[in-house]
Each structure stands twice: as C-alpha cells, then as structure tokens.
Subunit: 90 residues, 2 copies
C-alpha cells in the first residue's frame, strides 16, 4: 500500500446561483475592490489515501465524493491525486 | 486592463483541530472507506480579477484575503492567478 494525498475541490455548477459568492462580492466592492467580480465559493477537501496505486486512490476518492462529499446534481468535483503524504503533524 | 482568474484556497492551519474534517473522516470510515484519513476541510474561492498585470492581480486578491476572505491567525491561504477569465456564463 502506498500513501497518496488527494485534493478535492467541490464547486456549485455555473448555472446555479451562488448566494454566498454574491454576498462576498458585494462585501469586496464595499471594501473598494470593484476589480474583483464573479466570486464563487466552494469547498476544498484534503485527505491522505492508502491505496495500491494512483488509479485506485482516485477511485476511492471518487466514491467518497459520490457518497458523501458532493451533491452530483448541483456541484462539480475536481480531484487531484499526488503521491506521498503532505500533512506532517496532523 | 486585463482579465485574470484567481483561485484561492483557505485552509485551517495544521496545528488547529479541524472538527469538520474529523466528522467527515468518521463518516467516511462508517461508509467502509478506512483508507481515507487526515481529512481537512477548507474554502475554495474563485473570482475574476481586472488588473494591469498578474502582479497587481495577486496584490488585489491578497488584500481581499487579508481584509475579508481569511483569518490570518487561524488560516493559511494559497492563491493561483491565471490569465483570462474561465467563467463563461456567470
């Protein structure tokens, strides 16, 4: 078994109104930063994965996304798998 | 003025207990995925930036992080700036 690190980014689909993002955008404009627009807010999930190889690690993380981390109807998921474990003192 | 896209990842510092991450980790183990460990959850913020160049875009996003998006005492921020605007129909 090898150790991998998975980075998962879960974002609302483009077609869905991101109320949290709009609120942050208005706050940024109130703070005199009108150059920042189209703010969208999502989740970032980082985890260590024990698997035989990178393909199995990705499969495991995809299963986790389908079953728990993301709502496939409303959200898009981007998964990055890197070898080794980044977390040093968790 | 050019258009850039900024991706900001805000994560709790390693030394700080991530209660949300621990809860998700326990849920994953209950779903028979014991190979997923050290789960940590953060925020992912995506936005378009209007600035003269990439350095100014980064400065603007760093200011937004300091003033609004992140808590510098408890959170780490990673910023990626890419040229062009990814959002097609926001």
């Amino acid at each position: 078994m090898k150790h991998f690190t998975a980075h998962v980014t879960v974002t609302l689909r483009r077609a869905i109104l991101d109320v949290q993002g709009k609120t942050v955008e208005h706050a940024l404009h109130s703070l005199h930063m009108p150059g920042l627009q189209h703010v969208r807010i999502g989740k970032h999930v980082e985890m260590s994965v024990q698997a035989a190889d990178a393909d199995h690690a990705r499969e495991l993380v995809e299963r986790a996304c389908q079953q728990l981390l993301a709502n496939p109807v409303m959200e898009d998921v981007a998964i990055t798998i890197t070898e080794g474990f980044e977390g040093d003192h968790v």
